[in-house]
């Protein structure tokens, strides 16, 4: 009887055990957005704390679950039980056991409560040890001359990055470095930070609530409209990290991704200089030149800034360096050769490695993105499937503001080609 019953229990438990075992062996802990592969102190603290809760819970689960299985098997109804008296006398409870178990539960919780408290304060803002002295002046342009000094200074200092969320993309600004929207030098969707430097992130939203989450570097904090939130992070290793908006923000929430490129401090200094440079002039009469004219004629210019070419736009992503970025459309479209990228990731077993931008892919992405975005209709008047439904590119209906009502733009294939050629020159 016992063995038969036990074999039944085992039979029931087998698929679950098999599932867990297969699951653990198949599950890759280093995938792109894994929280289990921390690459910075904030994510590390969060991961360590998580693992403490995991161990506590596994032990408790084994204890309580084991007792439950034992009790159900041991105290099952057996032949002959029906002849025993129906009322079990000692069944009403035992205060000592109750109090003991409550005390033990509280004790178990204290084990995780204490590291939780320390971690709450540690992850809240840049800890003092990361800000030895205030030497913020080294951040300003006058440090340009000596690269070593600059790199050293970068290593020691706290870098401030403003993250501005919009439906459905992120804008990054570096106020200390003059890379701001006001200065026409903001950075859309791909944040670049130097390795080993504490970065204070100021979180702002211009419409609905978004959330900033780069799982390998730091847990998320929300971008609340009308509030100033902050967090801090630091990356231990260089590489290409993947992030995503984690608060439901409307139709295209799933398409609101971003990237974080962690580079050596010296490389970071060069990157800052590149961001400040204007776009190169286009060759007169070329396709790109036609595209440039279209950029103005099709009112792209009203929202998008292209440093050195057009300066009116401040609403949409800055396109001055659009061709140098590895992603497009809120990082939903990848401008790299994804086959090469997969091969590299497999070869290096390092998901933070990245191949360079592939111009052919970039061009195809640009054409697709401009051609079917925000327009409810294509050039033939037929509805198109938006790359990002609800996005505001050349379609202002949602603002319902006089003069901007239904500014709808459509493009022919040739126009798209020219525009893409123009944007490809913006490196």
């Amino acid at each position: 009887m016992f063995s038969r019953f036990f074999s039944r229990v085992a039979l029931l438990a087998a698929p679950f055990l098999a599932m867990i075992m297969v699951g653990c062996s198949k599950a890759d802990m280093t995938v792109r957005q894994s929280t289990l592969d921390p690459k910075g102190p904030v994510a590390q603290v969060q991961y360590d704390l998580f693992m403490k809760t995991v161990w506590l819970v596994v032990i408790l689960f084994a204890l309580v679950g084991g007792l439950l299985v034992y009790a159900v098997i041991k105290f099952r109804f057996r032949a002959g039980d029906e002849n025993k008296p129906a009322i079990v006398e000692d069944g009403h409870g035992n205060p000592l056991i109750e109090i003991g178990l409550i005390t033990a539960s509280i004790g178990a919780l204290v084990i995780i409560a204490i590291p939780t408290l320390t971690a709450i304060w540690y992850t809240d803002d840049v800890p003092a040890e990361s800000v030895p002295t205030s030497k913020l002046s080294v951040w300003y342009p006058r440090v340009e001359g000596t690269r070593e000094n600059y790199a050293k200074a970068v290593e020691e200092q706290v870098l401030e990055v403003d993250v501005i969320g919009k439906q459905w993309w992120f804008r990054f600004e570096y106020p200390q470095l003059g890379l701001t929207n006001d200065a026409k030098h903001s950075v859309p969707n791909e944040m670049v930070i130097p390795k080993g430097v504490a970065v204070r992130i100021n979180l702002r939203s211009e419409d609905v609530i978004h959330s900033f989450w780069v799982p390998k570097i730091a847990g998320k904090v929300d971008l609340m409209p009308g509030r100033k939130n902050h967090m801090w992070l630091q990356a231990r290793e260089t590489g290409h990290y993947y992030g995503q908006c984690a608060e439901f923000c409307g139709d295209s929430h799933a398409y609101m991704l971003f990237r974080v490129e962690v580079v050596e401090p010296a490389e970071f200094a060069k990157w800052v200089q590149r961001q400040k440079a204007d776009a190169a002039p286009v060759v007169a009469g070329s396709k790109a030149d036609k595209g440039k004219a279209l950029f103005a004629a099709k009112s792209c210019v009203m929202c998008h800034n292209v440093g050195g070419h057009f300066g009116a736009g401040a609403f949409a992503p800055d396109l001055t360096h659009v061709a140098s970025r590895k992603s497009l459309a809120g990082a939903w479209m990848d401008n790299r050769d994804l086959k090469e990228q997969r091969a590299l990731e497999q070869k290096t077993n390092n998901t933070e490695s990245s191949v360079a931008v592939d111009p052919a892919t970039l061009k195809a992405n640009l054409i697709k993105w401009i051609g079917s975005s925000g327009t409810s209709h294509d050039a033939n008047g037929k509805p198109t499937k938006d790359v990002k439904p609800g996005n505001r590119m050349h379609y202002y209906k949602m603002f319902n503001v006089a003069g901007l009502n239904e500014t709808k733009q459509t493009f022919t294939a040739e126009e798209l080609d020219c525009l893409a050629e123009y944007l490809l020159t913006l490196k």
Binding site: M29, F61, L68, G91, H92, L109, D124, D222, F248
Partner: protein
């Protein structure tokens, strides 16, 4: 069955000319047919109606869930559009919580509470009917948004002027069941009230508002019933645990729903009249919505789970052959959970930038709520310990409840640590967590309750082999669907995203989860088919097939309309079990005397008053659509509501006397069947 009108003895109620109310209107007096179901004030029939509607909406919510899982089975899938996906998860969450679990719990409250406390009905029978129909119409309004959505997609509205003027064209809500402002609200200054979402949100607001009225009315009713209508000797500490949990749940509802009511009215004012409660560009505070929502929303979790805990606390002692271990502690921990449930709402908001002090406070309080929850699990274990465990479908499901709920509780402890939670918040890890609590916990608990009390409700026994197969499929499918989501969340997949790219390592486990969801769907469907079939065609069973412990098992199955032929007098906890096997007998009080017992009259008025909400509920979103003169529909609806309540007040309480078999002095025979 005989009945008296104005104390004059007559043979049978249906042979009479219908009784007239104080208004001179004829009161409905059907005891069968759809007229009876529409006008009934019998708590058992209302309970069955609640259960039937809840099961229907469980299936609706399940279909929505399967559509969600189908979309996510493959990366870059386009089974549904982004907006349709958002509408699906919004309606899935809203349907399961407000139209599935809460009404199914209410079905148990209605059917069982009067029986368990030895009463003949709830305190306010007509208010009870009003709660039911208000729920039905609220649910109807909410789901009618789908019809508008499909009509819109089919292009039926295209020729209308109001449709052309719409800025946003979502008709089913796409704002999430949490409906965070300002996505659900407005932006812009100077009272422009520009919106991020369309009339779907208006359907949602008015639907939840109406459902809240239903829940509040029902809760006042149950509190009054439990406090005032207990049989003699049924002291508070002799109440069956399910009734205790009903009381705690009802108190939670009347304390929690005002918060969401206020929030919804503010949001409605923002959207309809350009108020700025949550509009950040005019100085409003989106975070205020979150506080108001979660101070409702977290107790709501306990509103969902406490009734299931109560059911399990009835099922386990019955099939362990032992009284509940630590009854006072179980009751007290239920109350503590209810109390602490109001002190942990901000753990849903750990990532909103509360600052370290409140984060720490809510983190510790959230850990604290694990203690009374753990106490319940320990006491259930203590109940089994030393007992004689009989395996029946309800017992297997109750054990499944403990197991799955424990998993959900443990991942809840992981969330309570705020810094760790900042990696889990809004990821699939959270989805796994609360589905283990709400599906593995609550649904298994409610299914255990259905299999447990079905023989009492219909006098028929559900088919056990099919019940086991269905339960096995549910438990297997459920774990296959939601177990991998723990990993997906830790692998960084955010919630509420309608698709994802290949290359993030999420493909395999999303596919596995989808397979699990389909197995789960088949299991739930099989279980429901089994129950529905049983209700009409199942094998008849005895009045006490499980060797039950509480008063309802002393009654015939199905229970007669007067419940107790004579009011019982209770001497102990587990009164019926003691009566059968122990020394303390259930006494009887011939309360009706020669005249019989007093029964409430049926009435049209609750249905009429509730119908007002139907019109008002349709009118508000139609106003938001810009349909001309739709405001008058709202006014008409409020008028119907007013007239319904007015006539209700003036028709007089009515009631009639009914002679029960025991009125002659012999106690009603109770049947005891040995297992």
């Amino acid at each position: 069955m005989s009945h008296d009108s104005h104390h004059a003895p007559v043979a049978c109620k249906t042979e009479l000319a219908p009784e007239r109310s104080d208004l001179g209107l004829i009161r409905p007096d059907r005891t069968t047919g759809w007229l009876d179901w529409l006008t009934t004030v019998d708590h058992k029939k209302i309970g069955i109606l609640y259960g039937a509607f809840a099961m229907f909406y469980f299936l609706v919510g399940g279909v929505e869930a399967l559509a969600i899982r189908t979309q996510l089975a493959r990366p870059d899938n386009d089974f549904v559009t982004a907006r349709m996906y958002n509408q699906l998860f919004t309606m899935h969450g809203t349907t399961m919580i407000f139209l599935g679990v809460m009404p199914l719990s209410a079905a148990f409250f209605n059917f069982l509470v009067p029986l368990q406390i030895g009463a003949r009905d709830v305190a306010f029978p007509r208010l009870n009917a009003f709660s039911l129909w208000t729920f039905v119409f609220g649910a109807f309004v909410l789901n009618a948004s789908w019809f508008f959505e499909f009509a819109h997609l089919a292009g039926w509205f295209n020729s209308f002027e109001w449709h052309k003027a719409l800025v946003y064209t979502d008709f089913a809500p796409a704002n999430g069941w949490f409906s965070y402002a300002p996505l659900s609200g407005t932006f812009g200054q100077n009272g422009q009230a520009l919106r991020f979402t369309g009339v779907g949100t208006d359907f949602w607001i008015i639907g939840i508002q109406v459902l809240g009225i239903a829940s509040l009315a029902a809760s006042f009713n149950f509190i009054c019933t439990i406090i005032n209508m207990r049989a003699k000797g049924m002291t508070m500490m002799r109440l069956p645990v399910f009734t205790w949990m009903t009381l705690v749940t009802a108190i939670l509802i009347i304390l929690a729903f005002p918060a969401i009511t206020v929030a919804l009215i503010e949001l409605m004012f923002d959207r309809a009249f350009g108020a700025n409660f949550f509009n950040p560009s005019a100085g409003g505070q989106p975070v205020l919505w979150q506080h108001l929502f979660w101070i409702f929303g977290h107790p709501e979790v306990y509103i969902l789970v406490l009734p299931a805990m109560g059911i399990v606390s009835e099922v386990l002692p019955t099939f362990s052959g032992k009284s509940l271990f630590g009854y006072p502690i179980i009751v007290f921990s239920g109350a503590v959970i209810g109390f602490l449930g109001f002190a942990v709402w901000s753990h849903h908001m750990f990532t909103t930038g509360l600052g370290p002090v409140p984060t720490a406070a809510f983190s510790l309080l959230t850990m604290a709520i694990a203690v009374p929850t753990g106490v319940k699990i320990f006491n259930w274990l203590g109940t089994i310990w030393g007992g004689r465990v009989r395996f029946t479908p309800p017992m297997v499901l109750a054990l499944g409840f403990i197991w799955m709920f424990m998993c959900g509780g443990f991942s809840g402890v992981m969330h309570s640590s705020a810094p760790a939670d900042s990696q889990q918040q809004d990821s699939y890890f959270v989805i796994a967590h609360f589905h283990y609590v709400l599906l593995g916990g609550v649904l298994l608990g409610l299914m255990a309750g259905l299999y447990f009390w079905f023989p009492k409700i219909f006098g028929r026994m559900p088919n056990a082999p099919i019940a086991y197969i269905a339960s096995g499929l549910v438990i297997l499918g459920f774990n296959l669907a939601f177990g991998p989501m723990h990993y997906l969340g830790l692998a960084g997949q955010p919630r509420r995203t309608h698709t994802y790219h290949a290359g993030n390592g999420w493909e395999t486990w999303n596919f596995v989860a989808t397979i699990g969801a389909y197995i789960l769907g088949i299991g739930v469907f099989l279980a429901f088919v089994n129950l529905v079939w049983t209700a009409f065609r199942g094998k008849k069973c005895s009045n006490d097939p499980w060797d039950g412990r509480t008063l309802e098992w002393s009654l015939p199955s199905p229970v007669p309309e007067y419940n107790f032929a004579q009011a019982p007098i209770v001497a102990t906890r587990d009164a019926f079990f003691e009566d059968k096997h122990g020394t303390k007998r259930i006494g009887a009080e011939n309360d009706g005397g020669e005249a019989g017992v007093h029964m409430p009259s049926q009435s049209w008025m609750p249905l009429l008053a509730s119908a007002g909400f139907l019109f008002a509920g349709f009118g508000m979103p139609m106003m938001a659509m810009g349909i001309p003169h739709a405001g008058w529909i709202v006014v008409a609806g409020l008028g119907v509501l007013f007239i319904g309540i007015w006539l209700w007040a003036l028709e007089g309480p009515g009631g009639y006397m009914l002679k029960t078999p025991a009125a002659s002095g012999t106690p009603a025979p109770t049947e005891t069947v040995a297992h």
